[in-house]
Subunit: 476 residues, 2 copies
């Protein structure tokens, strides 16, 4: 097909240069821009609107599961970081440090939160008295800073936005239940809102959160077959409870340490949906989180009654709760078609004099490019139904890819061939760090999650008895 789409011609080829395609698309669609400080990003209105929709959906789920929001300070005394040995080892190298405040050198340097287990632990220690106060179920929406060497908008930046849940429980069992419950919330959200099916499971020791007993992650397959860690939920045991003295008086009259969890997702999810659904024409945003779900384009806009009909239809759709907008700029219809396709709006509605006369509208799906003629009379119903279908189709397409592109490997060579072919690879693993490192070195693939309920005879690397089946992939 000849391509006279001037926007497409500005975007690198998705199959041969996916990284450049990503950069082109996020900048040209005005989702994001580079900030003045290296490694930082500006989330522009179109990108931020996606984040607002993500927040709305997740926040409702957090509240439905009994959590409330709070806000803890940005600045953490440096000494807090050092109280949990693994935690400081993991995070100290990437913190930003404030040494001057109000014109004076501070007596103790302050760290900009890279995550808030420490400062929240300190407060929980103060607030928690008795078993009656448990569980503590608090979430925070916040910005965090982690000094990164290699950065890409949304995927890895020095500052990003996220939510971090932090909970305390009376028993190990309750805390583990919470950890897995929130992983489940993330998975359901990823599938039903972002249309991204995910693999979930426990992380290896190497890949777990610094300070956790166990980390569970969800991994999403991107267009190029690489994996993106899209969310994590940590069972922290009593590590932080002991480091921050989070104790309670139990029913039996003795003081006990609580069991804590933490879990988070970030603006990285925007990167995930771009790389999961996009195509050569640009973004495809799932309707549930799309800032604009339906874009109305007038045809022969100068003809009498066209702009009025477009305005009336927009009003009708908005009243029905659809995020509809109209493009009444001076650009040509063709230009508008291409631009809104690039911006990934799920549904385009064309309305011209002949359509209006016939009481019709033309709908064009972003996912399938299908053109549909429909009655104007019950427009909202038609649009809602189509948006549902698009949402469903995006999920099914991604699910199909996810299922087709998982292969098994019996050797490191096979594993390499698998990931080079754009696949996730299941393989046996003995459980030792040396084999994990060697696999990474030879294939650039890392252990994404441990696969539950499957067994393997031998380790793909050393040939010794396998302890787990692991899902390996190259990752963002």
């Amino acid at each position: 097909m000849a391509n006279n789409n001037q926007f497409v011609n500005q975007i690198a080829d998705i199959e041969t240069d996916f990284p450049q395609w990503y950069t082109d698309v996020v900048l040209k669609t005005k989702l994001v821009d580079y900030g003045p400080v290296k490694g930082t990003m500006v989330i522009r209105p179109y990108g931020y609107a996606i984040w607002e929709n993500i927040q709305k959906e997740l926040d409702a789920r957090f509240k439905a599961t009994g959590h409330t929001n709070a806000y803890f300070p940005l600045l953490i005394p440096y000494s807090f970081m050092t109280r949990e040995a693994e935690h400081v080892e993991g995070f100290a190298p990437e913190v930003a440090v404030v040494t001057v405040g109000g014109g004076e050198t501070l007596s103790e340097p302050l760290v900009i939160r890279p995550t808030s287990e420490t400062i929240i632990g300190e407060m929980y220690s103060k607030w928690l008295q008795s078993y009656r106060d448990l569980p503590i179920l608090i979430n925070q929406w916040a910005n965090v800073v982690r000094w990164e060497k290699t950065t890409r908008p949304f995927l890895r930046t020095s500052e990003f936005l996220w939510q971090e849940g932090h909970t305390v429980h009376a028993t190990e069992e309750d805390a583990m239940k919470e950890t897995l419950k929130m992983l489940g919330v993330y998975k359901e959200f990823a599938e039903n809102c972002l249309a991204i099916p995910v693999f979930t499971g426990r992380k290896t020791e190497k890949e777990k959160f610094a300070g956790a007993v166990a980390t569970f992650g969800m991994e999403a397959m991107m267009h190029d077959g690489k994996s993106l860690q899209a969310g994590t939920s940590h069972y922290l045991g009593q590590n932080f409870a002991k480091a921050f003295d989070i104790q309670f008086l139990d029913k039996d009259g003795t003081h006990k340490y609580g069991y804590t969890t933490s879990w988070g997702v970030s603006t990285r999810l925007i990167g995930a949906l771009i790389m999961a659904h996009g195509d050569q024409r640009g973004l495809i945003i799932p309707p549930v989180v799309a800032p604009v779900q339906a874009i109305l384009v007038p045809i022969a806009a100068k003809k009498e009654g066209v702009l009025e009909a477009v305005a009336a239809l927009k009003e009708q759709l908005c009243s029905a709760g659809i995020r509809a907008d109209s493009d009444t700029s001076d650009n040509s219809p063709g230009w508008k078609f291409n631009e809104w396709e690039m911006k990934g709006v799920p549904l385009r509605i064309e309305l011209g004099p002949r359509d209006i006369e016939a009481g019709k509208m033309i709908l064009v799906r972003r996912d399938t490019h299908e053109k549909i003629e429909a009655d104007l009379s019950n427009a909202a119903e038609t649009v809602k139904k189509l948006l549902d279908e698009i949402q469903h189709n995006l999920l099914e397409t991604a699910r199909k890819r996810k299922e087709e592109r998982v292969v098994k490997a019996e050797s490191v060579d096979e594993l390499l061939k698998g990931v080079e072919g754009g696949n996730f690879v299941k393989a046996g693993w003995c459980g030792c760090r040396e084999c994990e490192d060697k696999i990474k070195e030879k294939t650039a693939a890392s252990a994404r999650v441990i696969v539950e309920g499957e067994e393997a005879e031998t380790c793909v690397c050393c040939g010794k008895k396998a302890k787990h089946v692991v899902l390996f992939a190259r990752a963002y």
Copy 2:
């Protein structure tokens, strides 16, 4: 009246020690706690829920006036601060400075945003091309850091949450219109959501924002007759446009600098509503922003059917969009009454076996302590009506105080007597900084706003011809 309320006895007297009353109330109701770093606060779930309601109301108003949200980086190169002379003079002394990132000393120190005119100006300079791009109407919800020496939760803290709107316009007229429009949005919000009537007007040169051409503020009268600056809207002229090269190609083919505005309100608004409405028993939260609008307290909870009836009523109210909750803890009803009064819940609903049998409930208003018996059958309607009445009554009570407590002064002594009596004082002012400083020195009152449409003969301080009538008050 004898007071056997154990909560009230823990709160300092509101009339004789208002500052301590404030501290007692914000801590005991778990709105807020002190953070580990001096001057920082933790906004606890009950306080954060008020902020969420404030955000929801304001955000809808910003969007209805054409603004979209975005997110700009936390860290600003130090050099940006210095580009606007007044701005750096005003903010440099109170910034927190990051000098180390990722284990290395940074080549240029970074400032944690105390406000974002500079970094947003830099981005607007990059984004703005032609007059077609104007106006730019963007808001940001964010945290900011200003190193403060004397701090109090919500009122003045080293870190706080706020929104900052930043807009660019083609003409001075458009920018001034925006400045005043957003001041109007704040005023309407303060009155209709926080039930706080405000004085609005232009600030003096001394009190204006560092870098603005003109600042307009809204001032709210607190319980003790002091003023709280509850929001500001700045007309920045071309000051930041020139410092950051915010130019556009106009219709006439020439490049011109834009005119910018900025406007913000913060978590300080929570302090405002506490100090505007609270009484000796604790908080009184206006229904529109109350985390819990109606608290259900079971009477004789162990009697058959009581807890079920409470749960059913809660469900009925919640379904009708009322933020209702029930207190089914082991505490006595009396304890619960006092605790929820202290927490400022607008309406208490008591439900016992006899009430249930009679198909009745007892409602108690937090503002007037009035007890009302009402039918259970149309409970949601009754509750909604009462919440509206409480909201209205709080506003009227505050309005009455605001009107009664404004006096006029012809001399600095009279001005002093006025503010010592807990009043705002209107007085003539010649317009010079010396008189403004002298008045501050002698009365501890500052110029809150310039009063429009009123005239005075002479300056209250020097006796020369008055240029303006100014509203003076002691302020938080």
